[in-house]
């Protein structure tokens, strides 16, 4: 039987409004009930990239805790290099695709996967496998943006070295930004995780090396932090040295990490592996330490609630 579109009467409108208000009140109350069984700060899920991604986000409270219906989401992968998943230079495509699915399930109105690639964009999109994996879910959602018109100037209040920069317009207008980096080594910053990965959202990153890489990374992160409700780090395989491009040895950890704050996520990821053949404390990574010093998050992960789940 065909359904006819219902007309919205004043009465219905009031009813719906009341229902919505009730729902909002319930949502406000949710944190109180959460106190009883506190959601962990960091979740580590072991397993294949897709399943572990889903499990990790679930363990942290589910995507509905981070993405509300109708919101616009940008996922920031690593896809800067024209290389396949086995090289561990880019985020595993299954991780990004699964995040995309979760966002859609949570009711996001629009989910975009955006990066300003270092290498030739067409090669990055193709060889990383991210475009193919995500476009199967939603078409035209993965883009490597380089052209100036996709970026807008953003001022960074309280910046140390980067008072303003050009950030992707879709990121500035998004409700939620989900950094989803690959865990890998980096010859200049030690590791490159969610904080360092933000450099892929701006128009001109060359100057970072001139003005002070670590401080500039933290400045940029301070600008984007309000949009970051969830961080997912792909540590299914980790390039433990020779990064960011490689080649480097790849350690198979079968782990996906989810956290609410970039600093904690990166700090925990540092502890997952040896880097350049040595154990490293999160505070030894300059940009992570600077970010914590400036109040962008916590790096004392040993004092945080970390759960490990099997996918």
């Amino acid at each position: 039987m065909p359904t006819s579109p219902t007309r919205l009467t004043r009465r219905d409108f009031l009813k719906q409004g009341a229902a919505a208000a009730g729902a909002l009140a319930a949502a406000q109350a949710a944190p109180l009930s959460a106190l009883a069984a506190p959601a962990p700060d960091i979740a580590l899920a072991k397993g294949g990239p897709a399943e572990a991604t889903r499990k990790a986000v679930e363990a942290l409270g589910g995507m509905a805790a981070f993405v509300k219906p109708g919101q616009k989401v940008v996922i920031k992968p690593n896809m800067s290099f024209a290389a396949g998943p086995e090289s561990a230079a880019n985020t595993h495509p299954a991780v990004i695709a699964e995040l995309m699915r979760l966002c859609k399930e949570a009711g996001a109105s629009r989910v975009l996967v955006l990066d300003n690639c270092l290498a030739d964009p067409a090669g990055c999109l193709k060889l990383s496998g991210i475009a193919a994996a995500c476009e199967a879910i939603d078409k035209d959602c993965v883009h490597a943006l380089k052209d100036e018109r996709f970026f807008r100037k953003a001022d960074i209040a309280g910046a140390k070295v980067l008072p303003s920069t050009m950030v992707m317009q879709d990121v500035l207008e998004a409700d939620v930004l989900i950094p989803a980096p690959k865990a890998k080594s980096h010859g200049a910053t030690g590791v490159t995780l969610s904080l360092k990965g933000m450099m892929g959202l701006i128009y001109e990153r060359e100057s970072f090396h001139r003005i002070g890489l670590d401080d500039a990374i933290v400045d940029l992160a301070s600008l984007l932090k309000p949009k970051v409700k969830l961080v997912v780090i792909d540590a299914t395989s980790v390039m433990t040295s020779g990064g960011p491009y490689g080649p480097g040895p790849v350690a198979k950890l079968d782990t996906v990490l989810a956290a609410r704050d970039m600093v904690a996520a990166d700090a925990q990821a540092v502890l997952l592996s040896e880097w350049y053949g040595q154990k490293v404390a999160p505070s030894q990574v300059r940009h992570i330490r600077y970010a914590a010093d400036r109040g962008l998050g916590r790096l004392d992960v040993e004092k945080m609630t970390v759960v490990t789940v099997q996918a």
Binding site: E86, D120, G187, A188, T189, Y276, V280, S283
Partner: protein, 566 residues
Amino acid sequence: MLQTLSLGAFLALLWLASFRLAQGVTPDLFLWLDPLGAAGSMLAARAVIPAMLAGLIVIASALFVGRFFCGHICPMGATLDLAQRVFRIKKKKNAEPGPGLRRVKHGLLAACLGASLLGVSLVSWLAPMPLVTRFWGLAVFPVVRLGLDSGLGALRPLARAMDWRAASFAVVTVPRFETALFVAALFALLFALLALAPRFWCRHLCPAGALLALFSGRPAWRRGVSQDCTRCGACARACPMGAIAENPAETHFRECIACLRCVRVCPEGAVRFRLFPASAGAESFVPGRRTFLASGLSGAGLAALALAGLDSPALTEGVSGTVVDPDRVRPPGSLPEEEFLARCLRCGECITACPTNTLQPAWLQAGAWGLFSPVAMARRGACDPDCAECGRVCPTGAVRPLPLSEKMWAKMGTAIVLRQKCLAWEWGKPCLVCKEVCPYGAIEMRRVDSSPVTVPFVLGNRCVGCGACESRCPVQATAAIQVEPMGALRLATGSFERTGRGMGLDIRRAVKPGAPAGPENLAPGSSPFDPAPGQAARPTPFDAAPAAPSLESPAGGSPFDPPSKK
């Protein structure tokens, strides 16, 4: 009709080539047909260039159909006709130059061949196909693409509002070329000359047309006028080439391009093109033997001037005394320079087809005789490891067509670090962008005493000269790492890989697409991390002690080997 199709095909091929889409076809097809391109470059290169044999066939065709090619196939003629219509260029009354000027094209032809005889190619200055390819590819297409891209940009707010993803993120990349203004100015001049006479270039200047004219004295298929002619002169007024004599029954056959306009305008239907018609020829405008010889000698003289110059194309690179501009980096697979310059038409096909825009028409990087020839400008873009379009679209084989596996070994040059500009070397900042972007793993970060951070070294035997490092170096103005033609592999024949291996080159991709990565570690004693709390400032503050000098080796170094142990 045929002319429109021909120009359309020419533009379509060039446009597709410029997006790297002309796969499975030869976008350089029209270049093959250039009569002067064929004769001039084969003579200069002293080689048979297979594709260019088509140009010789075009020359031979003149015996049968005269300058049909000029009237129907040549994109230069079509471009001039188009310009005349688009810009509504009206012929000025009595502005037409006298018949003497028609001889100029023959003089230019003789000069061009005279220079080619000495091995110096002036084809790029005079042959219509390279000229017109440069015009469209280097001057017009970038403007069209900028227009399209601006259109997309203007549409973007709407596309975003409607969530038309593909449209909102679409871009048309805009290639940017050196010399474009110069190329455009030359054509502005040719267009302006149309006010004096239609097809001014074809009538008076085109040496390729002159070459065809030499064989079109009385082509088999030609213009004939029947007895019905009333001598009204309508045909003569309509003829774009001024190929009809005062008596309209007579034709200057060497000038006629068989455009058939005279057939269409004749009110009596008296003009027809047929095989072996009864017809009367008129003055040919071919200069005498003496003039030909003089023109040829002046061309040879120009060539001699080139050969005597500091930038002589005949000097051998690498021999002391030969001056090479450090910016003269050639496309991968380019022939040895002398042969390269003899063959290269400077048509700009490779430059138009280059997806990263690294290939640029040269100003003076290759000397005055290499103007418009392709050079790789790494600061603009890097040579893509997964592309060999330049060789594929080159009509003359000046850039050899190579499969990707061979092209990788066709070393274009070597990167050198300008330490005084380098962030890591000079300023102690942790920068490794060059290493990060090198597709061949040719940059190694090492620890040195003079810098607190690791610094880049180029491994010469792994460097291809692609310029990825130079293109991304974050230092402003002059990059701190630059590609020079030093060590470039220029082979006329044979395998680049075999020769390269024989020279000790070790060229491979840093990360092969699809292949697992191998191990690679930081320089010994260096660390990108800060020391752990409570540790010394640097984990290993000292270099390893040098090995104790052996007794045999004299201190201070010696050109001689130590005495052998007995």
